[in-house]
C-alpha cells in the first residue's frame, strides 16, 4: 500500500510536468498549426538556467521566475524562426523547430557542459499515511493546478487570450478583424516557452536533467497532448496525469525501461485510431 502511494505521488508529480509541456504544445499548435518539436528544450533551458542562477547566489524566489522568463524569451525566438518568415508552411515550420532544438543543444553544451545538472528544490519531507514524501513532490501538483487555472482565465478573460482563440479558430477571419496573426503566433510560442520553463523548474530537483532530456520530455508531453486530443490545454492536465501515473506504476511494478515504450505505444494507438476514423469522414485533412 505504501509502495502504491509513493508510486502514485511520484506519478502525479511527473504527470504534472508532462501536462505543462503538453499544454505548451497544444497552445502553439492551436494558434499556429505547428507542432513545436523544441518544446522539451524550454524545460531544459529553464532547469539549467535555474541551476546557474542559484549557483550565482540568487535566492529561489528570483532564480526560478527569471529562468521561466528566459524560457519564454527562447520560446519567442523559436517562434520567430519557425513562423516569422512569411509563407512558411507547417511542415517546413515543424522541421525548423527541429533545427532550433538541435541548435539549443549546441548552446546548452557550450554554456552548461554535457553533464547532467540539478539543483535542490524544497528541502525536507512530509509523512503521509506512513510514507515519507519529499516536499518538492507535494509542491508540483498545486503549482500546476494554479498555472492551469491561470491559463483558463487568460483565454477566457483577457483580450490577448481571446485573440489567440480567434486565431486558433480561424486565422483568416481573425486577420480580417485586425488581429495580428503572426504576433499571436509568437505570443503562443512565448507562452509555450514559459509553460515548458515552469515544467523544467519544477521537475529538475526531482531528477537531474541533461541537454538531451528534451527528447523524453517532448515525447511524453506530446503523448499527453494527444491524449487530450490536441484541443484544450485543460484536457492536457488530465492527459498528463493519466500518463504520469500509468508510467510510474509500470516502472514501479515491472521494469523502469518499459515506461517510455508504454507511453509511446499508447500514443501511437490513439493516433492511428483517430486517423482511421478521420479517413472515413473526410479525406482532405492537413
Amino acid at each position: 500500500m505504501s509502495a502504491f502511494l509513493s508510486y502514485l505521488i511520484h506519478g502525479i508529480a511527473q504527470g504534472s510536468g508532462y501536462a505543462l509541456v503538453a499544454s505548451g504544445i497544444i497552445i502553439v499548435y492551436r494558434v499556429t498549426r505547428v507542432v513545436n518539436l523544441a518544446q522539451g528544450m524550454f524545460a531544459v533551458v529553464a532547469g539549467f538556467g535555474t541551476a546557474s542562477l542559484l549557483e550565482a547566489g540568487l535566492p529561489h524566489a528570483l532564480a526560478e521566475p527569471m529562468a521561466i522568463v528566459m524560457a519564454a524569451a527562447v520560446g519567442v525566438c523559436t517562434g520567430y524562426v519557425a513562423i516569422g518568415r512569411r509563407g512558411t508552411n507547417p511542415q517546413a515550420s515543424l522541421i525548423a523547430t527541429l533545427g532550433v532544438g538541435v541548435f539549443a543543444y549546441a548552446v546548452e553544451v557550450l554554456t552548461w557542459g554535457d553533464q547532467p545538472r540539478s539543483f535542490s528544490g524544497l528541502a525536507g519531507s512530509h509523512e503521509l499515511f506512513g510514507v515519507d514524501i519529499p516536499r518538492q513532490y507535494l509542491l508540483i501538483a498545486p503549482i500546476t493546478l494554479l498555472v492551469f487555472a491561470g491559463l483558463e482565465l487568460f483565454f477566457e478573460r483577457t483580450y490577448a487570450g481571446k485573440c489567440m482563440t480567434a486565431c486558433a479558430s480561424n486565422p483568416y477571419a481573425a486577420a480580417l478583424q485586425g488581429i495580428g496573426v503572426l504576433r499571436m503566433g509568437l505570443y503562443a510560442f512565448g507562452l509555450g516557452g514559459a509553460l515548458g520553463g515552469i515544467a523544467g523548474v519544477l521537475l529538475t530537483p526531482l531528477q537531474p536533467i541533461s541537454y538531451d532530456s528534451d527528447v523524453s520530455l517532448f515525447v511524453n508531453g506530446f503523448a499527453a497532448a494527444i491524449l487530450a486530443g490536441l484541443k484544450r490545454p485543460v484536457l492536457a492536465l488530465a492527459g498528463g496525469l493519466v500518463l504520469g501515473v500509468a508510467e510510474s506504476m509500470v516502472a514501479g511494478y515491472s521494469k523502469a525501461s518499459y515506461q517510455s515504450s508504454l507511453a509511446l505505444l499508447l500514443t501511437l494507438a490513439i493516433l492511428i485510431a483517430q486517423a482511421t476514423r478521420r479517413e472515413a469522414l473526410h479525406v482532405v485533412e492537413e
Binding site: 498549426r33 512558411t88 511542415q91 515543424l94 549546441a106 485573440c163 488581429i179 525501461s257 517510455s260 505505444l265
Partner: protein, 357 residues
C-alpha cells in the same frame, strides 16, 4: 539526348566514386566509408520526404535494424554475404509491417510516430539479451566474399560505394518510371492522385519500405565494417542528421541527396577535426556539429527550400527574369515537392500589420 546525359552522369559518378576509393589514403578512406553509408540512407530519406511528402524521424532505426540483422546472422554462423543480403530485406520488411498502421498518419503525426519507432527500437535492443543489450553486439566477423575476407578499409570503401551506387541506380530508375510519376502525383495531392488511379496507400508503403531497405543495406555494411554494434551508435540524432542532409541537398532528387550528404558530412567532419585540435575544450566537437546541423537545417528549410542542387538554377532564373520580363517564372509547379509545396496546404493568411494587444 536526355537519356544519354543521364547515363553519362551515372557513369561519371561511378568512375569518380571508385577512383576516390582507389586513390584516397587510409585516414581519408574511413571518412569515405562512413560518407558513402550516410549518403545511402539519405537517398532513401530524400525519396520519402520529397516524393511521398512524409517526414521520417526514424530512419536511424532502420539503419540499426539492418546492422543488427547482419550482425546477428553473422555471429550465429551464417555466411556473411547472407547477413549482408538479409540486412536490407529485414529493414524493408519491418518498415512494410509497421508502415501499414503508421502511414495512416501524416505530417507531424507521422514525424512523431517514426520518432517513437526509433526510441522503442533503441529500448528493445538495449533490453534483449540476444543483441547484447546496452553492452552491444561484439565479434561480428569481417565480410567474406567468395572466400576472400575483406579486412582493409579500402575494401570496405569499395563495398560501401558499391552499395551506394546500387541504391542510386535503383532510386533514379524508379523515379524515371511509372511509380516515380505516381509518387510525384501523390506528393502534391493525395486526393488528386487517388482520383487519377494511383494506389496512394500502396505507393506510400512501397517507398517507405524501399527507403528503409536502403538504410538497412547501409547498416549491414556498417556492421561488418565496424565489427561491433551498440544502441549508443544509433542515437535519435542520427535520424535527424539524415533529414538535415536531405533538406540541404534538395528533397526528392538523388543528386540532391548526394550533394547534401557530401557537403554536410564533410563540413561536420572537418569542423570536428578542427575542434579536436589541442587547446579546444573537450565538448567542442559536439557543440560544433550540433550548431552546424542546426544552422544548415534551418537555413535550408527557410531560405533554400529546393536545396543546394536547385540553387544555381534559381540564381540563373532570377538573373534572367531581372534582365528580361518576369514572365518566365521558374517551373515551380512541375518540380517534385519541396518543403514549400509539400503535402500540407500552407496557411495562406498573411499577417496584417496592426494589433490591439
Amino acid at each position: 539526348m536526355r537519356q544519354g546525359s543521364r547515363s553519362a552522369a551515372i557513369a561519371a559518378f561511378a568512375v569518380a566514386g571508385f577512383a576516390a576509393a582507389l586513390l584516397l589514403d587510409e585516414s581519408a578512406l574511413s571518412v569515405y566509408v562512413l560518407l558513402a553509408l550516410t549518403a545511402s540512407v539519405t537517398v532513401g530519406v530524400s525519396l520519402l520526404m520529397g516524393h511521398a511528402g512524409q517526414v521520417s524521424l526514424g530512419h536511424g532505426a532502420f539503419y540499426a535494424c539492418g546492422a543488427y540483422a547482419a550482425g546477428l546472422l553473422a555471429t550465429h554462423g551464417c555466411p556473411t554475404w547472407v547477413g549482408l543480403l538479409a540486412a536490407p530485406l529485414a529493414a524493408a520488411a519491418v518498415a512494410a509491417l509497421v508502415g501499414v498502421p503508421l502511414l495512416l498518419l501524416r505530417g507531424h503525426h507521422l514525424a512523431f510516430a517514426t520518432l517513437a519507432l526509433h526510441l522503442m527500437f533503441l529500448s528493445l535492443i538495449s533490453e534483449l539479451t540476444i543483441t547484447g543489450g546496452d553492452v552491444g553486439l561484439r565479434g561480428i566477423p569481417r565480410l567474406n566474399v567468395a572466400g576472400v575476407e575483406l579486412t582493409s578499409t579500402r575494401s570496405y570503401a569499395y563495398v560501401s560505394f558499391g552499395a551506394l551506387f546500387l541504391i542510386v541506380v535503383v532510386a533514379r530508375n524508379i523515379l524515371a518510371s511509372r511509380p516515380g510519376r505516381a509518387l510525384r502525383a501523390l506528393s502534391s495531392s493525395e486526393v488528386a492522385a487517388a482520383s487519377s488511379g494511383v494506389a496512394v496507400g500502396y505507393y506510400k508503403l512501397a517507398v517507405f519500405a524501399l527507403s528503409a531497405g536502403f538504410a538497412g543495406l547501409a547498416g549491414g555494411v556498417y556492421a561488418f565494417y565496424m565489427g561491433y554494434l551498440a544502441p549508443g551508435s544509433f542515437p535519435v540524432m542520427l535520424s535527424i542528421e539524415y533529414i538535415v542532409m536531405a533538406a540541404v541537398g534538395g528533397l526528392g532528387k538523388v543528386s540532391g541527396a548526394l550533394a547534401g550528404s557530401a557537403v554536410v558530412f564533410l563540413l561536420v567532419h572537418g569542423l570536428s577535426r578542427v575542434a579536436t585540435l589541442s587547446g579546444m575544450p573537450s565538448t567542442a566537437p559536439i557543440i560544433l556539429s550540433y550548431a552546424v546541423y542546426a544552422v544548415l537545417l534551418v537555413s535550408a528549410v527557410l531560405f533554400l527550400p529546393r536545396g543546394l542542387v536547385a540553387w544555381p538554377a534559381a540564381l540563373w532564373a532570377r538573373a534572367r527574369s531581372r534582365s528580361s520580363s518576369a514572365a518566365d517564372a521558374t517551373d515551380a509547379a512541375t518540380q517534385p515537392a519541396a518543403l514549400s509545396s509539400a503535402a500540407a496546404p500552407a496557411e495562406t493568411v498573411a499577417p496584417k500589420h496592426g494589433s490591439f494587444s
